[in-house]
Amino acid sequence: MAVQDKLEKAGRKPSVAHAPKFPAIVCIAALVLICLYSAFSIHRVIAANAPPAPPRFTLGTAYRDVTYCNSQTLDVYVPGSAATGPLPLAIFVHGGGLTGGDKAYLNPTFLNALAGAGFAVASLNYRLAPASQFPAQIEDVKCAIRYLRAHAQTYDVSPSKIFAFGTSYGGMLVALAALTGGHSNFDVGPYATTSSAIAAAVDMFGPADLPGWVSPQDFHVAFGGNRANLVLASPAHYVKANAPPILIVQGTADTTVPQSQSAELYRKLSAAGDHTQLILVQHMGHMFAQVGSQPIDPGMTRIAADMVSWFQRYGAESR
């Protein structure tokens, strides 16, 4: 009898005084405010995870939500009058930990730079974990390449000038697509006789050597807790001579995918004698985030121009 004991010790009878009204009002007000703030916070989480609107495209025709393999969809942006076909094609692969992301994550700066230089651009969705674990993602990326090559005439693109670029895990997927060649164990599903090779790739801060880097959560959710999958998903594992040229873009302040990942891939590609270049972007964290007060250097426009130059430089070498 906690309270009664205390009161009896003090020589009083237990009080039947009701709760003071003022704190009760404060308590109710606090509960209402907590409910309102939690509703706001949950709405913010939902909004932050919703895919953005697809980029506006004013330089030509946009074919949206084209269905390709495994009921996945892609968008194709074909520039208009300024370019004469067949056009080179750059395929964008989004990031998102293999569990999220959307083809709408295509950065308008990259889209406009490529389209302005006469490239058609495709941005694709792929199956996501945990419903579909690795290697479903690379299988879809390779199937998208085969689909676009098989339908090159539909979009007036050149089947011999197909490039790819990706961010984060998307960077890893394009590097894998480049390094595993036109016909690999990842080439399953439709258009099996068509090559999934690409002429060159731009890997933006993608992980390259997963066994020493991947988080336990990603390991279980995206790779099924299978260490063999980590090796199979590591671009560094496939480096060989005569691989397609790979441009690597890496933020020096990236704590999600550290610089050492990109440096390792660059070191292995260089050692194998492959065409490669590593652009270290100062003050840049993951996904082009500015870290600190200084803007990222080089900026987005410069990175986009470097990517276009990279594709143009190696566009003549059809594979």
Binding site: M1, A2, V3, Q4, D5, K6, L7, R12, K13, P14, S15, V16, A17, A19, P20, P23, A24, C27, A30, L31, I34, C35, Y37, S38, S41, I42, R44, V45, I46, A48, N49, G97, T99, G100, P130, A131, S215, P216, Q217, H220, V221
Partner: protein, 195 residues
């Protein structure tokens, strides 16, 4: 420590815990600065340690021997919740989240038991509601992590369930602070005849 300070510690601690849960709501599911994370962790630590210390002090000085067990249960509960939440934030594996869940379930259950004992004796039913809300809210945090590992929910789903858990725990903290405030007011109030 005087009994007055013990009451104040408990009420202030639960208020801080409510603020800590709102801070957790603010940083959960979005990229947060290191300062935000450290502030939230500090608030959660204070919000659980202060009422734990306060209830323990009450148990030792105010109503021995029976009350010791009751308020000691509350103190034990808050310490269990603190360990559970710390483990949950630090854990990156399924086993870590399971350990966290064990601490939080045990802490929540002992808190609820302590609150029921006190409520029966001192007519403070709000305290049971507060303890239940805190226990359920805190349990949702490791539960959503485990559900993510079991592929039952998405990353966004995990964030939403954790936000709901934090909101419930914040509401529970406010109710618990209020109930201790009322208990303190009753203890101070002059005697009134019931006849």
């Amino acid at each position: 420590m005087t009994s007055s300070k013990s009451w104040a510690l408990v009420v202030a601690g639960y208020c801080i815990l409510a603020v800590a849960m709102l801070a957790f709501l603010t940083i959960n599911g979005v990229s947060s600065t290191a300062a935000g994370t450290i502030t939230t962790a500090t608030l959660i630590g204070l919000g659980l340690l202060l009422p734990a210390a306060g209830t323990l002090e009450m148990a030792r000085h105010m109503d021995p021997p029976h009350g010791s067990a009751r308020k000691g249960l509350l103190s034990l509960s808050l310490t269990g919740l603190l360990i559970g939440l710390v483990v949950s934030f630090a854990a990156s594996s399924l086993s870590g989240h399971l350990v966290s869940a064990v601490f939080i379930v045990l802490g929540g259950a002992s808190g609820l038991a302590g609150a029921i004992f006190i409520a029966k004796q001192a007519r403070a039913r709000q305290l049971v509601a507060g303890a239940a809300l805190i226990a359920i809210g805190a349990a949702l945090i490791p539960a959503s992590n485990i559900a993510l590992f079991a592929y039952l929910i998405s990353d966004m789903g995990k964030s939403i369930y954790q936000d709901i858990g934090a909101a419930l725990a914040a509401c529970g903290s406010v109710v618990a602070a209020y109930s201790f405030f009322v208990l303190r007011s009753r203890a101070k109030a002059p005697a009134v005849s019931r006849s």
